[in-house]
Symmetry: D2
Subunit: 167 residues, 4 copies
Amino acid sequence: MPKSLSPSLASLNKTLEFEAEFIDGLKDIFEEKIVFNKLLGLKITSLTPHRVTARIDMRHELVGHYSHNRIHGGAISAGLDAVGGLAVMAAIGARHLDELPAQRLQRFAKLGTIDLRVDYLRPGIDDYFELCAEVMRLGSRVASTRMEFLGADGKLLSTGAAAYIVS
Amino acid sequence: MPKSLSPSLASLNKTLEFEAEFIDGLKDIFEEKIVFNKLLGLKITSLTPHRVTARIDMRHELVGHYSHNRIHGGAISAGLDAVGGLAVMAAIGARHLDELPAQRLQRFAKLGTIDLRVDYLRPGIDDYFELCAEVMRLGSRVASTRMEFLGADGKLLSTGAAAYIVS
Amino acid sequence: MPKSLSPSLASLNKTLEFEAEFIDGLKDIFEEKIVFNKLLGLKITSLTPHRVTARIDMRHELVGHYSHNRIHGGAISAGLDAVGGLAVMAAIGARHLDELPAQRLQRFAKLGTIDLRVDYLRPGIDDYFELCAEVMRLGSRVASTRMEFLGADGKLLSTGAAAYIVS
Amino acid sequence: MPKSLSPSLASLNKTLEFEAEFIDGLKDIFEEKIVFNKLLGLKITSLTPHRVTARIDMRHELVGHYSHNRIHGGAISAGLDAVGGLAVMAAIGARHLDELPAQRLQRFAKLGTIDLRVDYLRPGIDDYFELCAEVMRLGSRVASTRMEFLGADGKLLSTGAAAYIVS
C-alpha cells in the first residue's frame, strides 16, 4: 500500500549513503549495548536512511509455543519495537548529516518508544526471520514507523506500528 | 476506571478458586515450557479466574537502554503479551470447571494472540517489576485483556491491551 | 486495575476545581467549535483535572449495523478520541492554573492525537452512552490516556488508549 | 513494504472480478444502510477482492480543528474502520464465489470490528480524502487489515490497522 511513499524513498535512496563509522556505531549500540537485542539474537542486515532490515535466527530459547517450535509473540514484538527504533535512528542520522557520526550516535540515547502495536497474522515457524521497518513520518518530536516480520521465504507473519519520541 | 467491572469481579472472587493441579500445570507451561518466558524470568505470583499477576526480576540481559540500566521495551511488551494470555487461560479454566485440570490445560495450546498494544508511560528502572492482566471480555472466539507493568513501588510504568483467539 | 493511580487522583480531587469560565470555554470549544463532535452529539457531563466524562445520545444517524440499531464503531472511536483529548486538556489546564482561563484554553489548539487504539468488547446498543477518559501520564511533550465507552446501564462496551502531542 | 504480498495480489487481480449485483449490493449497504457512513459522506471508489478504496469530501460538519479547517481525527478513524471492514467483506465475497451475490452480502451482517489502531501522521487539510484498505490475512474466524488515509494529492495523512471477527 505505501505506494504513495515510493517517489521520495526512491530519490533518497540514490542520493544518500551512511559512512562506515556511523553504521558500525549503530551496529555496536543495537547489537551489543542494547543487551536484550543480543539476547534476541537481533542482527542488522541493511541500513538506509528510510528503511532498515534485521534478522533473528530461531533457537530454542525463543520458543513460545512448546508443541510447535513457534517463536514467542513477545520475541516478535520486542524485535519489531527494536527495528522501528533503529529506522527512526537512521532517519535522524540522515537529517543531521552535518554532524559528526559520533554526535549523531548520541541521539540514539534520547529515543524512546511511546507506544507499539503488533498484529500477529501467521504462526512464526521457521529457521530464521527477517524484520524490516520504515519511517512513515519523522517530526521534530514524534516519529511514526511501520514494521514487518517475515519468514525465511518472505511470507508476512506479523506487522507492527509504533510511535517514538525524538529530541 | 474499570469501576464498571468491579461487581462481577468481586462476586467471582468469592466463589471460585482453582485446584492446585491446575495452578501447578499452568505454572509449568507458563514458566518452563514457554521457553522465552523463562528467558524473561517471568514468574506467576497470583492466579484467579479474572486477574493474574506475575513478576520479572531485573538483570543485565534485559537492559534496553545502556546508560540507564533500563529494561528493554521489548521485554515489557513480551511480558505483557504473556500475562494477558495467562489471564485468558485462567478465565477459560474458570469457564470449564467441569473438565479435569489436565483437559483444561490442553486449551492453552489453542490460544493465540491476535494483536497487542503497549503504551510506555515511564522508564522501567527498578530491581523488579510486577505485571498484571485482567480479562475485559471472554467471548466464544475472541478474548480481550488489559495489562499493566508496574515498578517495585507500584508505580505504573506501562499499560497494554491485547486480543486473543480462543477455541 | 489502575489502583496504582488512585492516591494521587484522590488527592488532586480534593484540592482542585476549575473556574466556571474555564469549564464554559472548554464546553464551547468541545461541543460547538469542534463541529464533528456536535455531529456526534457529544456533551461533556463532568470535568475534573484528571478525569472527564461525556455522553452521546443514540440516534438514527449514528447507526452502524442496520439490522440491530447498533452504534457505528466509528462513532465510538471518534468519541473516545475526543474525550481522551478533553482529558488531556483538563490535565493541562490544571498544570497551568497560574494562567488566565482564556490563555489556558488557547492550549487546546495545539493538542494533536498521535495515535489511538479502540477495543470493541460488546455491541453498542442502547438509548445513550457514557464516555470517560483518564490521563495516565502527562509529560511535557506527550500525554497518554485510557478511555471507556459504557452503556446506559454502566456496562463496559469498548475501551480505548491514545497518545497526544502537547506543547 | 508489503512487497511480499505483491505476487498473490497481482495474480488475484487478473483472475477475479465481482458481479455488478454484488458490487451494487455492497455499495447500498456501505453507503446507505450503514447510516453513519452516509453522515461521513463515505463513497466507494473501487472494489477488488483484496483492496478497496473510498472517498470522503471535506465539509464543515467534519471539522475537528476550528482554526485550521482540519478534518476531525474521529472522522478519520471512523472512515478507516469502515473501509477496513469493506475490504474484509470483499475478501469474503471472493472466497464464496460459489454463493449467490445476495447470500454473500448477508455475510456482511456478521462482520464485527475487534479492534482498531490509527496513527495520525499529518494534519488532514484538503478538499477531499482517499481511503484505502487491504486485507493482510483472512482466516476462518479473524481477518486483519491495513488502511491508509490520503490527501487529494496522494500524500499519506494517517495509517490504520484493524482486526475483524468473521463468521
